[in-house]
Symmetry: C2
Subunit: 438 residues, 2 copies
């Protein structure tokens, strides 16, 4: 089989570019009715994407300045519960995969296992769980803790959480439900077992009250960059949402990570690696660059610093906006792997903190590709053929136009080149990704 | 305005009567795809019901005999995560209210507040949360505890949980989201506040990352019977799902409960009381009674005892099935208020434990009304006019036929009598119930 790109849509109501929500073609954010999400999901399905991906944060950001004021005034920072949104979209789509985030630090294995198994049943095998460890003290304070768990500790908890969830998913064998109405026999209880997970963080007995999921197990997605993350994902993930600001860094991550997958005793194609990328589509390259300039002019620099502060779990308001970028790499308590690169790179380039804020706000350190459909397809092809990825998570600069343009103009170009499917071939998310059913 | 009945559909994939899943017209249970749920939800909406109601239990029952074997062999005991199912149904319905269960003992206020606020946004104001305290040790063991919390303790936790959820829902004022794209102002942060809940059980800071819900606050549903429950519900609930085996007991509960509502400083119509009832519809009374006999013949007595054991959190397998009903009223650690009546009544009548099991399995102590559409409408009217209820939760004996018959035959009869709406008049669940927006 020809190797083809896998594409995911990062779904939210305001786009990723910090200027995106202010773009004249953007829908005003913060409304949160079904209509916009449904429109995006249906468009992604018409474009034959592998999956929708819904991120999460369990708090309004309030690290910058120690309050949510600067955040809520300057950028859309509201979002629905991702599992509720994903479930709502499961019944208005038919083929596209459906992945949402749930935190291993602030959830319980039983709830997470049952929710994703349930989505898998209702959607006919399209569910994926993005397992994250969360990042900020703001999240901790919504769950009775003063501070976020330390990096090492929360990855230990995450590893055990994954083990417990898998054990719960495996409590039912296929074929355990008989539903024999005449004989009055509902299930073959010998095909059901307790999970009996007992570890340092969790004791979960099971069995799950949900029969085995159509996919065997829902797809496991993980997002991150640090070394600890990579070891965990190499052993557990079916799909990795990566951050690679350049093709070179993409190749480096891809090679290193796939080596770890092999070292974990798995085939390297058992885990798909999709870096995030922000396409800005125009009829011509020049027109696309003009849109990029428009978007950049709409960025409020403070918005980027509030976002960085939250993701790093480190208040940047104590440094002057016009001063140099401070070397705070050892103080990062949030997304460590990612921001060590961002900070080091900014210090190298000698930009100010305010400039970094505006820059970061634009793309969140994801690569931005502005150009005609052919130019964007070229760039996707270049990454793919260089061995930097198995596909991409599309980060829309604004919605809906910023992503429907991509579906209508770039996807057909990728299809013409044989780089992307023209029809769904299978029915489950595992089918779309080409990863095995356990 | 004429006083009218409020009707809810108790939604699951197998009906409530223990013989129901075996009925020739019943869909085989345990499949859990969207189709059956969607069909039931759409039928309920066509019938103009107030709401769908989804119950929950956070474990496979395994109290009887200390194992799940007897349970899974003899009755459908699988069910999806109720919030996932409710969310999926939110996008394929337009007007009907949507209530699901989440446990105050085994969830976190932040998750619950955010999930129901999210459903309220996606559904345009149709969400309701059924706040329960859970019942069994099996549930406790899925959340790291050996035993379920004691009755008093879990109601203390429930009261604080409700306070915290309400505080989170109130962190956003209406109109806080500006989404002013031109000015670059997303929200008016002065209309957003921390919840800063700090109690014995929870510390939750907020604010919720979701703007104020369309209903102000989603509807609060509570289900139960004990004195402690009644005090909590009188102060908090918008809707009570009651258990009243007879009209007389219904009147007694209704009067006592509404008195407590007034004592809590609320108007008595601020809380609707809907007892569960199981209608068995036939063209004639005789035909309906024949269906009831068919259903009863399909009951496996052990199924009832497994169900009772789980709900009472008390293993009944240690008593002989052919012996008298043991007086275990003081040992009940689950649904106390309900089973004290059930046990006392069975002892009075001198039936055996096995007979009680079969009887309980049939209707779970909800009243069963078998008859022609006119007979059932008579009975509904009698309860309503006697002051036993503000409406009913319909407990289908089997699905889908057992409930679609009701919609197609009994609802029109209730409408002809002016006892039930012929069209939705408002848009939110609060509108349907006639309870005020906070």
């Amino acid at each position: 089989m020809t190797r083809r790109l896998h594409l995911a849509l990062y779904l939210d109501d305001h786009g990723i570019h910090a200027g995106g929500w202010r773009h004249p073609r953007a829908t005003p954010p913060g409304e949160h009715g079904l209509a916009l999400y449904r429109r995006l999901a249906e468009a992604a399905e018409r474009a034959k994407l592998d999956l929708l991906f819904i991120a999460d944060k369990l708090a309004v950001d309030d690290v910058y300045g120690g309050d949510f004021g600067a955040v809520l005034e300057h950028r859309p920072n509201t979002h629905l519960d991702p599992i509720v949104l994903l479930s709502a979209l499961s019944s208005v789509t038919e083929r596209i995969g459906l992945a949402a985030t749930a935190s291993t630090t602030y959830s319980e294995p039983f709830h997470v296992a049952r929710m994703f198994a349930s989505i898998d049943h209702l959607s006919g095998g399209r569910a994926g769980w993005n397992a994250v460890t969360s990042v900020s003290d703001g999240e901790a304070r919504n769950f009775g803790r003063a501070e976020h768990l330390g990096h090492q500790e929360r990855y230990e908890r995450a590893a055990e959480f994954l083990t417990a969830v898998r054990a719960l998913w495996d409590t039912w064998d296929e074929g355990a439900v008989l539903a024999d109405q005449a004989a009055g026999r509902f299930a073959d209880a010998s095909k059901v077992r307790y999970a009996d997970h007992a570890g340092d963080w969790f004791q979960v007995r099971g069995p799950l009250p949900v029969p085995r999921a159509p996919q065997g197990r829902p797809v496991i997605v993980q997002a991150g960059a640090s070394g600890v993350f990579q070891r965990l994902a190499a052993a557990n993930a079916d799909l990795v949402f990566a951050v690679a600001p350049t093709l070179e860094r993409g190749v480096e991550f891809y090679r290193g990570f796939k080596r770890q997958v092999r070292e974990a005793g798995r085939g390297e194609h058992e885990v798909r690696v999709l870096p995030g990328i922000m396409p800005v589509v125009g009829e011509t390259d020049e027109q696309a660059r003009e849109v990029e300039r428009e978007l950049r002019a709409l960025v409020l620099p403070i918005a980027g610093l509030t976002f960085m502060s939250a993701s790093m779990n480190l208040d940047l308001s104590r440094f002057p906006v016009d001063g140099p970028v401070p070397d705070v790499r050892d103080e990062i308590r949030g997304s460590k792997g990612r921001f060590q690169h961002v900070i080091a790179d900014a210090i190298d380039r000698g930009i100010t903190l305010g400039e970094l804020g505006a820059e970061y706000a634009a793309t969140l350190s994801f690569p931005l590709v502005a150009g005609s459909p052919a130019t964007i397809a070229d760039e996707f092809q270049r990454w793919f053929e260089a061995g930097a990825c198995d596909g991409f998570v599309l980060m829309p600069p604004y919605v809906p136009g910023g992503v429907t343009d991509f579906f209508e103009q770039v996807v057909p170009e990728l299809q013409r080149r044989g780089l992307f499917r023209t029809e769904y071939e299978g029915h489950t998310l595992r089918d779309h990704l080409g990863v095995e059913r356990p």
